[in-house]
């Protein structure tokens, strides 16, 4: 039982700290400024090329097969250095590792991991959100290809993506969970229209709508067999709920650190309520770091994914929203010509209880799958 660094971990920490001192890309936060995404690919590639990203993944796809606990150190040091977080796409990697064959893994995973190829996830649709299995986008076989018709929405980073992991219906005569297949679809083609959506905090690069109208995808880009899209989707979304996979601890710790610096510099400016909100944000962010230590330590016994992801998602959401409240209290709402970054952080935090499956859905899962409460 040890929360401290082993010699290998201490070595990584020192190397990482030295590297970060010279390599901060100086980007604004993704959640508050569209400019982030112009610099993000270079940041991802630099982090990867220096050997600090995807450390736990198989060597065959560009990883180093180190224990995932190394990622805790990465998150801590990124936050301490005030750099952007690590790219949060581990859930795609985990999903494809678990369900993709050798060919799929070799063709696609090295590009995701190294950051040379950009990905998005086309699951949700206007009429299929929480009830994802109600999705209607269809994929119809045509020679060696499938042809896609349908409407995806809330697709994060779709405007920059080279590839989209699409769930589409290939069989209309079986129960709804059984007729879904998963495809890796090339984005730059005539049958795909991408429309950005503006979030409540004003940013436009977070997510978009994707319309498929005659887009083509080779049958060889199907992950798993026809009708096996649902298990893949469940693997992806369960890892998407894990803060250890997303690396959000560094994002929260960075904001909390900045807020604490403001308050220390000018304590008289803040009342007891604002100070208390900051205190809780400190407590919550540290809780999540320690919780991730626990979960990633458990992975030393092997990666698994189950209903615990829903517990973690609810904890992560509480943290993000506590940090959002502290930011709003201390940074202010941005009236007149005042800086409105804190307002944007706060407004963005409201999405955390929706994305990746809403908090209500996570509570349903905890109640049924963990507590064993009846339907």
């Amino acid at each position: 039982m040890n929360f401290g660094d082993s010699p290998d971990e201490a070595e990584l920490r020192a190397r990482l700290r030295a590297w970060l001192a010279d390599n901060d890309p100086g980007l604004p936060a993704s959640s508050t400024d569209d400019a982030y995404w112009r610099g993000q690919p270079a940041w991802h590639q630099a982090l990867y090329d220096a050997g600090f990203f995807g450390m736990s993944w198989p060597k065959a796809i560009g990883g180093q097969e180190l224990p995932s606990v190394f990622d805790v150190i990465l998150d801590e040091e990124l936050a301490a250095a005030g750099t952007p977080p690590r790219p949060s796409l581990g859930y795609l990697v985990q999903g494809i590792l678990e369900h993709g064959n050798e060919d799929i893994q070799q063709r696609f995973l090295p590009g995701i991991v190294s950051g040379r190829e950009r990905w998005c996830q086309g699951f949700s649709e206007p009429d299929a959100g929480s009830d994802l299995a109600a999705l209607r986008t269809r994929a119809d076989r045509d020679g060696d290809d499938y042809v896609l018709t349908g409407h995806k929405v809330w697709t994060s980073y779709s405007d920059d993506a080279d590839w989209c992991l699409v769930l589409a219906r290939t069989d209309h005569d079986v129960p709804k969970h059984k007729g879904i297949s998963a495809f890796v679809v090339p984005m730059g083609q005539p049958g795909i229209e991408q429309r950005p959506l503006k979030m409540i905090n004003g940013i436009t690069k977070e997510f978009g709508e994707v319309i498929f109208d005659g887009a083509r995808v080779p049958a060889a880009n199907m992950i798993g067999a026809p009708g096996e899209g649902w298990p893949l989707a469940m693997t992806v979304v369960s890892h998407e709920r894990e803060p250890g996979e997303l690396g959000y601890v560094s994002r929260y710790k960075k904001v909390v650190k900045e807020l604490a610096t403001h308050v220390r510099a000018n304590p008289e400016a803040y009342d007891a309520e604002q100070t208390r909100d900051l205190g809780w944000a400190i407590v919550e962010a540290e809780m999540l770091r320690l919780h991730v230590c626990r979960r990633l330590s458990d992975r030393l016994d092997g990666v698994s994914h189950g209903p615990e992801g829903s517990v973690d998602k609810l904890l992560m959401t509480q943290v993000e929203q506590a940090v959002g409240h502290a930011a709003l209290g201390i940074g202010g709402t941005g009236h007149g010509d005042a800086d409105d970054t804190a307002l944007k952080v706060y407004l963005y935090s409201r999405a955390q209880s929706v994305m990746g499956g809403t908090s209500q859905i996570q509570r349903n899962l905890v109640a049924r799958r963990i507590l064993g409460l009846p339907a």
């Binding site: 039982m1 929360f3 308050v263 007891a272 100070t275 400190i282 809780m287 320690l290 609810l314 905890v366």
Partner: protein
């Protein structure tokens, strides 16, 4: 980093759980069964768990804060009405002062409100002991007090007499009934670091107790939600009830992560950092535990508001463990202080 429990730690947890499940109170009326309580007390005395923080030959504790926390958590889960926290904290003080083990049942004295240890300025402690409370004092004849001495603290012991404890039905309190007398055979004066380190242990153990209480309360409420039927269905099938219980479970899991770290920090980090870890964990666990236990009361409906339902026994124990060395507010202030932020206007 590897924060999994070792096989020995798992085995310790299992053996505590066995005792708790065999002899702990399963219903409110069993709290009034002296024969059961005596057997439980004897089993715990025989186990040596109360001596985990006693000194080995080199002065180090026999076991780390993690082992002590494992015991505390299981005892909290099972609402164990035999002392552990008090004797453990007294053993730690004696270890730090290089004093021999207590000969009789002993606990510690905390200042009014329980948020800090009693520090008597002089031997004639009549005034400073006003309102002081000996915690977890079942069977205890004496309690330890810190006595200001030579830039640090010496230990003094004071006789205590039981009082009618109104909060915690499982761990009675006592009050001083005499004047503190310095403890014989103290090898060292306690430094501020020692007191900080002792406080860190106290915070870690109360956090562990709260995690256990939350586990017990969630289990109790979950089982009731499966059994109890209204509108022709188990109440646990109603989404409103499911979400209350899910939130309670999640709060318990978050608490577990911070409490584990606080327990590790006791021996692995320097005293100031161990205290910061304990304070952060305590702020989180104290806030969580009250809500979780309130949920357990709510899910029981009318039954939950009767004396005979165990839900309030969990809630009451949570209130006591929160108060010992400070609850959410006092510890949030410690956290802010550690970050160089004072509580302002």
């Amino acid at each position: 980093m590897d924060v999994r429990l070792s096989p020995e730690q798992h085995a310790l947890r299992d053996s505590v759980a066995q005792v708790v499940d065999r002899l702990g109170p399963k219903a409110v009326r069993q709290l009034d069964d002296p024969e059961r309580a005596a057997k439980l007390d004897a089993a715990i005395a025989a186990s040596g768990w109360r001596d985990l923080r006693a000194a080995e030959d080199g002065g180090q504790p026999l076991a780390s804060g993690v082992e002590a926390a494992i015991v505390a958590e299981e005892l909290g889960r099972g609402l164990v009405d035999a002392p552990f926290l008090g004797p453990t904290l007294s053993a730690e003080l004696r270890r730090l002062a290089g004093a021999p083990l207590a000969t009789g049942a002993e606990t510690v004295l905390l200042a009014r409100g329980l948020s800090s240890p009693v520090v008597a300025a002089a031997l004639d402690g009549a005034v400073v002991l006003d309102g002081a409370v000996a915690i977890d004092a079942e069977g205890a004849g004496t309690a330890l007090v810190l006595l200001a001495a030579g830039g640090g603290h010496m230990l003094a012991e004071v006789a205590v007499r039981p009082v009618d404890e109104r909060t915690d039905l499982t761990r009675p309190t006592a009050v001083p009934s005499g004047t503190p007398a310095p403890l014989a055979d103290q090898a060292r004066v306690l430094t501020d670091h020692d007191v900080t380190s002792w406080t860190a242990l106290g915070l870690a153990l109360t956090c562990a107790d709260l995690v256990g209480v939350m586990r017990g309360a969630v289990q109790l409420a979950r089982d009731y939600a499966v059994d109890r039927r209204q509108y022709g269905a188990a109440i646990g099938s109603f989404q409103a009830v499911q979400h209350l219980l899910a939130d309670a479970f999640v709060a318990m899991e978050g608490s577990r992560s911070v409490a584990l770290h606080a327990a590790w920090a006791v021996d692995a980090l320097p005293p100031d950092e161990a205290l910061a870890a304990g304070a952060l964990a305590k702020a989180y666990c104290a806030r969580a535990a009250r809500t979780v236990c309130e949920t357990a009361v709510q899910v029981h409906g009318g039954i939950g508001n009767t004396w005979e339902c165990l839900a309030h026994v969990f809630l009451r124990r949570a209130l006591m463990s929160s108060d010992v060395l400070g609850g959410a507010g006092a510890n949030l202030a410690r956290v802010l202080d550690h970050h160089g932020i004072g509580s302002s206007r």
